[in-house]
Amino acid sequence: MSLIKVCEVTKTYKSGDGTVIALNNVNLEIAEGEFLALMGPSGSGKSTLLSILGGLNPPSTGKLIIDDIDVYSLDPELLADFRHEYVGFVFQQYQLIPYLTALENVMLPLAITSRSGRQQREMAQTVLVKVGLGTKYQRLPSQLSGGEQNRVAIARAIVNEPAIIFADEPTGSLDSKTASELLELFQALNQSGLTIIMVTHNKENLAWVSRALYIRDGVLVPIPEEA
């Protein structure tokens, strides 16, 4: 059964006097529990598709249905609630808050819930252990390596137990060993039931995913041999 349905989604941007088509009539279905890779060259529209899927960027036309909810028909505040409940993001460059410790960064999504401070701390510590950062949770992001920061970002994405994780080039700035460890973690999370959609430009990462899609010029196409 499809968890996510993308129906005839087009996204255009104004650029100077003209219009740029970032996505052109994209149709897509993603089943619950999939680990999907979105590939494509730079500027192909994969990050735009990811932001649309994550409820961050409304399409110019078309619909996004997640768990039978027409996501972009929601009021902006309900859309924020939707992101909080359904979605976890692992951004490019991790996007951690620099003045909060690893633990506090992970606790952020819980700050707007009714959970007590103690409950929040316990939940955050549990996921930090799960991503292999059980001993470094009091460190600031600047005191962690790139791989560790990425793990904090993953912990923050999963602490609220969302249905879907969106990861934008999570291995882009990591060495191959750290990247493998990270993908192994994603795979484990996927096997525990999470649906994961990952933007990547690295063909080697396809070994870890259950399905891959290729975007070129805003259109989904079969994966080319040379990719």
Partner: protein, 387 residues
């Protein structure tokens, strides 16, 4: 973790910005507190002096003629209308009754002692001494009130009768102890009179409840003196109510002008502080565009972002208000007299602390609303791409 924790952590991180914002509030609040406290103390000081200078309103029987209370002509009650004690409670029913600080009724009776014509002035000693604070009384210690069997002699009377304090004087066949001699005042009414308890004189003169005039000190800073006078006229039919406007008005005008100046300066300082808060918070929001994008992306509502920004501004402004209060009050206590160019009494007013805190908080909320709203409506997708 709560939204307040996020706000606090951000303030800790941006110490210099926080210090600047607190300082701007401290300067604004301290200046306001200093100016307003000093102005209030000056008002109280002028009011106090006004009280010392004598009555502001004189209530006389409506005879159609002016009446001075030093003259012997008041002797014949059949020729001159009299007032009575029932007027005093009536005076306390006027709308601006709180401005009547002192009510001093008097009965004037002439008599002869050792062949000399003497004016007996029946007074309520407590009220009279409160009204005539500049009097120098030989024989009485400060705040001592003469009793019913004691009198105060005007300096001329004491000299002509050869009496000094603690001696005995016989008035209308009754002995009284001389409690004090009033040092020369330059006023013949006072220097040539014997001050005696009002009720005792009413009894001696066989004129129970009778009074010749009422002096009242109206401290009219919160109301126009004309209104008080008019209210008294309405309540006291058959009397002539006269306000000594010139003294009041000139003093009141001076203080009011300074008060207006203090208020204008205070408003300008509030505006300046508010502007600093707005600019500081706006710059803070711009610096944190990506952070706000992250928070919005992970599900923070607009009101959560508003709450974080307003909490930051509120916390810093409250701290500024607190420090500003202590600095302003401290400066007023130490240097208020220098500004007023006269010794004034400034006391630490705890209610001003509450006003300072609430005022700072309100100012910060108003000043931060625009930057906070700008932050709240940031498009998360755009904000995440902000460099």
């Amino acid at each position: 973790m709560r939204l307040t924790d996020i706000a606090l952590q951000n303030l800790r991180r941006r110490k210099m910005r926080s210090v600047i914002l607190v300082l701007s509030v401290v300067i604004g609040v301290a200046s306001m507190i200093f100016l307003l406290t000093t102005t209030q103390a000056m008002k109280a000081d002028v009011a106090n002096k006004l009280d010392q200078f004598g009555s502001n309103i004189l209530i006389l029987p409506d005879t159609g003629e002016a009446m001075t209370f030093g003259g012997i002509t008041v002797e014949a009650p059949t020729q001159v209308k009299e007032l009575d004690m029932s007027l005093i409670p009536l005076m306390q029913t006027i709308k601006n009754k709180e401005t009547l600080a002192t009510i001093a009724p008097k009965l004037l009776v002439d008599t002869k002692i050792k062949g000399q014509a003497i004016l007996l002035l029946g007074v309520v000693f407590k009220e009279e001494l409160r009204l005539k604070k500049w009097w120098k009384l030989e024989g009485l210690v400060k705040n001592q009130i003469p009793s019913a069997n004691e009198v105060i002699l005007g300096s001329d009377v004491a000299r002509s009768l050869g009496l000094s304090s603690n001696e005995t004087i016989t008035i209308k066949e009754q002995d009284f102890r001389v409690a004090a001699i009033l040092q020369p005042t330059g006023s013949t009414e006072n220097d040539q009179a014997i001050f005696i308890d009002l009720m005792v004189l009413q009894k001696l003169a066989n004129r129970p409840n009778a009074i010749s005039l009422i002096e009242t000190a109206a401290l009219c800073y919160t109301c126009p003196i004309d209104q008080v006078t008019q209210q008294l006229r309405e309540k006291l039919p058959g009397t002539k109510v006269t306000a000594l406007k010139s003294t009041l008005e000139s003093r009141d005008n001076t203080v009011n002008r300074f008060n207006l100046f203090a208020i204008i300066v205070s408003i300008l300082l509030i505006l300046a502080s508010g502007l600093v808060i707005t600019m500081t918070m706006k710059s803070s929001v711009e610096e944190r565009t990506r952070e706000i994008g992250i928070l919005r992306a992970i599900g923070f509502r607009k009101r959560h972002i508003l709450q974080i920004i307003l909490t930051e501004a509120g916390l810093l402004s409250s701290l500024g208000g607190l420090l500003g209060y202590f600095l302003g009050m401290g400066a007023a206590v130490l240097y208020g007299s220098v500004l007023a160019k006269t010794p004034i009494n400034i006391v630490w007013a705890s209610n001003l602390l509450v006003y300072s805190l609430l005022g700072s908080l309100l100012m910060s909320v108003i000043a931060s609303l625009y930057p906070a709203w700008k932050a709240a409506i940031l498009d998360p997708n755009e904000a995440l791409r902000y460099m």
